[in-house]
Symmetry: C2
Subunit: 199 residues, 2 copies
């Protein structure tokens, strides 16, 4: 019975993570009040990102180029590879300014209950990367929760026969937390204090 | 140094009310993972609402037609007019299913500190509406905070010489609260228990 256009906008906004019906209503009216330049930019930003962003063929990060800005940066150390679940975890690590090596973005964590098995993650891409003799260390930076720990164990076991140092970020992070929401100091500390991974 | 397209999207999302940099990052990656159909729909919903929504010439509500769906509904009572600050307050009232009359959306509240004076509100539209002899009662439903109370007093004083019942929604709502975030039961009760406005 309300205006269809506004209801439709509220309905779409309410599907975003962390946005309930009341926040969606607030955002919708904010957008109606905002300058047209802003709403056009927001709308274009969504479409542009969606259209042009691909998965980096080298590390699994999101990128607007075939190989992402980290993989194509010659200044990044090639002897260390940091494994994360999602691109947003990579962003969280980058913000600490404590890590200067390369990444491997798995695209999730093992979760048999939800049907997420090894073949759904970028394990093949990881194995391809570690086959490079320049790689000396693999840092496992999956989330410190059940799925992340299982995934770290799984990868550590796969890498055990290889001549690699396999480490896990320090559990300065509280268990059960989400890596992307950790503060930068804690996260930086966790990288700095990483220890040998005991299988 | 991060991918420009993603940074741009996060930057735009972080400007929305209630969305900080971390929520914006989460929403951005959610959008990158979402089906293209959804991102296209969201983007279109923003542009469509922004392009086609106008202010109802009769009551000040947002509408995709020159006269809004409430003003053009012949079943709505014409003897009572409920005055709110913003269209989202109107939506909150509608959700209570306790009110069947018409509305007047002021477009804000008096706030001399922020430079919002009577001429910035739709007081003229209100006076035009109450000039209709069919109107018997004006319910003042501005927010129960300083600006809303001042606005209610101002309007009550303007309407005092006229042959009208002027009421204020009951203060079942806690003072300092935002009307749009009140739960529907409390808000419905507040309309039901409205009392004569003492200037």
């Amino acid at each position: 019975m309300n205006d269809e256009l506004i209801l439709n906008l509220i309905d779409k906004l309410a599907k975003l993570p962390g946005v309930g019906p009341k926040s969606a209503t607030r955002i919708a009216y904010f957008l109606l009040d905002a300058p047209t330049s802003f709403t056009n930019e927001l709308s274009s930003a969504i479409i542009d990102a969606k259209t042009h962003i691909v998965v980096c063929s080298n590390c699994g990060n999101t990128s607007s180029t075939e190989v992402c800005y980290i993989c194509s940066n010659p200044k990044r150390a090639e002897n260390v590879l940091l494994v994360v679940e999602e691109p947003r975890d990579l962003i969280a690590i980058e913000k600490t300014h404590e890590y200067f090596g390369k990444y491997l973005v798995l695209g999730g964590a093992l979760n048999p209950m939800a049907g997420i098995k090894a073949e759904h993650l970028r394990i093949n891409l990881l194995m391809k990367q570690v086959a490079d003799p320049k790689v000396e260390e693999v840092i496992l930076a999956t989330n410190p929760n059940v799925e992340g720990e299982v995934t770290a164990s799984y990868i550590a076991r796969m890498l055990a026969p290889m001549d690699l140092r396999v480490t896990r970020i320090a559990t300065g992070l509280p268990m059960g937390a989400d890596l992307e929401f950790a503060d930068e100091v804690t996260l930086g500390k966790a990288i700095e204090k990483r220890q040998e991974f005991g299988v």
